[in-house]
Symmetry: C2
Amino acid sequence: MQRYFLKNKEGNNLIFFEQDLHHIKNVMRFRENDQIEAIWNEIIYLCKIDSISPFSLKVIKEEKTVKKNNVKLSVAVSLVQEQKFDLILQKLTELGIDNIIPIKTERSIIKIDEKKISKKYQRWQTICKEASEQSHRTNIPKINPIIKLKDLNKIDCELKLICSLDSKSKPLDEYLTKDIKEILFVIGPEGGLTDQEEKCLIDYGFKQTTLGKQILRVETAAIYVASIINYVYGG
Amino acid sequence: MQRYFLKNKEGNNLIFFEQDLHHIKNVMRFRENDQIEAIWNEIIYLCKIDSISPFSLKVIKEEKTVKKNNVKLSVAVSLVQEQKFDLILQKLTELGIDNIIPIKTERSIIKIDEKKISKKYQRWQTICKEASEQSHRTNIPKINPIIKLKDLNKIDCELKLICSLDSKSKPLDEYLTKDIKEILFVIGPEGGLTDQEEKCLIDYGFKQTTLGKQILRVETAAIYVASIINYVYGG
């Protein structure tokens, strides 16, 4: 069933985004009596289309379904080139992540043009909305403002981990105990965080963890982390 | 350290691929006395470059390092559009997979032009070689010939799993016991395997497993599976 997150809901009035109306009418070519799902506040409204133009529909069933991991997962990931960052957003959304925090690190090679930032956020939001619809989530992950690595001390979290190649790093499974409710991972850029950056995060209470024997690219590390959390806490 | 898989090794003579010699000379712009690593038969040869033109080098250390998962992992994945299949090859290589088996299924929308098949394989091999070098593997995963789904009965494996949305599917962790030495996953196309295809695989001894609550795209499912195996059997 095709699913759309609503722009708003006023009383019984379901308000769709313009691009979704376009998708319904011109891409999917839905007709009268076809059914679609609309999501608002984590509630799924099963709707039957009454009329395409003007567009109107009737809610025939409403259902609160919670499809969440048993842990709140945030991933702070170094800015990487656009195509890779888009992939990270899409895949982490599919895998049920809650928060994505883009970070600037010393070795991040990406410079964000401040003038284009709001347009970039819009694009990122669209990627997450569409991936949420496609994967049948009932909420959309939050994309936080871009921050500097050192501002990670402002984020409070029960378990804070750095994905590290340092030989003192412990395997991930030593940290992932069943009682944990909140995890924040930091994933550095290609070439890794600098020693100074890792030290700074350790001072903030972060712990170092390895992601196995291979050296993973930034986007692979991010998807790996979200996959493991889904596996361990998804039940 | 930059790493290259060799084309061949004759006695003490290390023979590089043409494109790697180009990479060494013109992309990385290595000079005399720079060091690189060459891999042959899972042995790492640390080399010092003696001369760029003509190219010659000296092995200064040789090391057998086994960086493998404790399980042999094969993934049979439905052919998907080129860009996504490339992503699957790259990421599964990084994550330490052993075998990739491209399969044709009823809902695979990709048609392979038989005339272009050998060129396609070359491209796929290059992707896996480069991802192996980048992630510091000491071997390259094997890409098997494209087969039809029903020919999966010819592949013998200790644990054979279908990634399925069927409600009778069991969670993955129920299958991943520590004693398993060999796993084969089948990942269907967008829209999934048909009921008949799943039934056929069940007749072949495959068991159905879920990959969590969300609906994952083909490439995400493949990366998810390789991540979990790396996590569970990587130690």
